[in-house]
């Protein structure tokens, strides 16, 4: 029985960030984590590994998803596996998207693994059986064990329990069951437990995906003060505020000359741990586009470019920390009478 397993350039042993543009290619046996899966699943299964650079996927998402689905069709795959991606943003996005493509186009069951805080989990948990993993790849063996055990059940078409029983993140599928006690009793029991500080299990977990009502410009753009905010981690060389490369909890406000036509590579660097820093280190304007905004300022398209940019590193940021950072930066922007923001993300 054939399994197609999608992994990125790093787990494919090709290289790190510098190889993130590696195009999609297929290997006719199990590579990296796929080999781990193979060892757990045994000889009944043979593997095709799909290896793709994280940047390549995110620049060509439809083409890669289509090609991976086509390969599954060609190989008559009984199962599709992706990752596990742990807390990686780009890799998680790729794994989620290819699982969704295989599920939608071919109806082949897809298994993956992600950390509960992975920002793309909510987008894709309905399209695949995604198992909880640790934040970092140190948890690879445990992740593969969970994924493999479930793979066996899926392929054997064994009856499956609830998401909680099987261990994957809920997919939003509801099946009717008859409860022993009526709803009124269950609700009161839950309330009593909650009031007494005892554990209880909600029957309807609310996943909060934030819908932010759009702000609208309050004056013509030609009169607006525009500021740049970035999560690309650009800081003055030397990182004076010691902002962390992963899971940053601090942000910095960095003033630049009001007359400066551009930002110079010699004065800035990026400390963001999640992308190839070479381009931004040579030319900071790629992530804090002072040069472009200065041009529009001189043309009168915008009122003025605020001579301070606000920066943190976005990679590995817990949602609750990002909310706090965002609120604090918003406060600083309001104090500075900024009317509009260009926020760059990497």
């Amino acid at each position: 029985m054939k399994i197609v397993h999608y992994i990125n350039q790093y787990f494919g042993g090709i290289g790190g960030e510098e190889k993130a543009d590696e195009p999609l290619h297929f290997v006719e046996n199990a590579v990296g984590p796929a080999r781990g899966m193979q060892q757990l699943l045994g000889e009944k299964f043979s593997f095709v590994t799909a290896v793709c650079g994280d940047n390549y996927f995110n620049s060509n998402p439809e083409a890669v998803a289509e090609a991976v689905a086509a390969k599954c069709r060609e190989e008559k795959a009984v199962l599709f596996v992706a990752g596990p991606a742990f807390n990686a943003g780009r890799y998680g996005q790729a794994c989620g998207a290819v699982c969704a493509a295989v599920d939608e186009k071919l109806g082949i069951p897809a298994i993956s693994g992600m950390y509960e805080g992975n920002p793309v989990l909510e987008t894709y948990r309905r399209n695949a059986y995604i198992f909880p993993t640790t934040e970092m790849a140190a948890g690879m063996n445990d992740a593969l064990k969970k994924m493999a055990a479930f793979a066996v059940k899926l392929v054997a078409e064994e009856p499956l329990g609830t998401a909680a029983e099987e261990g994957y993140f809920p997919r939003g599928v509801r099946r009717e069951v008859v409860r022993r006690e009526n709803g009124a009793k269950r609700a009161v029991d839950m309330l009593m437990a909650k009031l007494n500080g005892q554990p209880f299990a909600t029957e309807i977990p609310i996943f909060v995906l934030e819908k932010v009502p759009p702000a609208q410009l309050k004056k013509p753009l030609s009169e607006a003060r525009v500021a740049i905010v970035t999560v690309g981690g650009l800081v003055p060389r030397g990182n004076p505020d010691k902002i962390r490369s992963f899971g940053a909890e601090k942000w910095g406000a960095y003033a630049f000359d009001e007359k400066a036509p551009t930002l110079e590579g010699k004065d800035y660097e990026t400390i963001h741990g999640g992308y190839n820093p070479n381009f931004v280190n040579a030319n900071p304007n790629y992530v804090v586009p002072v040069n472009i905004l200065r041009e529009y300022e001189s043309r009168g398209t915008i009122g003025s470019l605020h001579p301070v940019f606000y920066s943190t590193a976005g990679v590995g940021g817990a949602v609750v920390v990002c909310r706090k950072t965002g609120a604090e930066i918003a406060g600083a922007l309001q104090e500075a009478n900024v009317d509009a923001v260009i926020l760059t993300a990497t």
Partner: protein, 61 residues
Amino acid sequence: MTTLAKNVGANRIVAGTKIPHPCGDPTVSPKRDREIGMLLLEKSFQLLQKQVQTPEIVQAV
């Protein structure tokens, strides 16, 4: 990563060139590189001035 931006609450999204250099392209001529940056910001300004009601994602180039 624009889908992710939309899902976490961003309302005006312009797709950047590429993750390591969202506001330009170091692999093309300096003139084209700057042109790309100008186009991205132009699209951004259009979105800023628009009364959006639901999240919008646009391609600049």
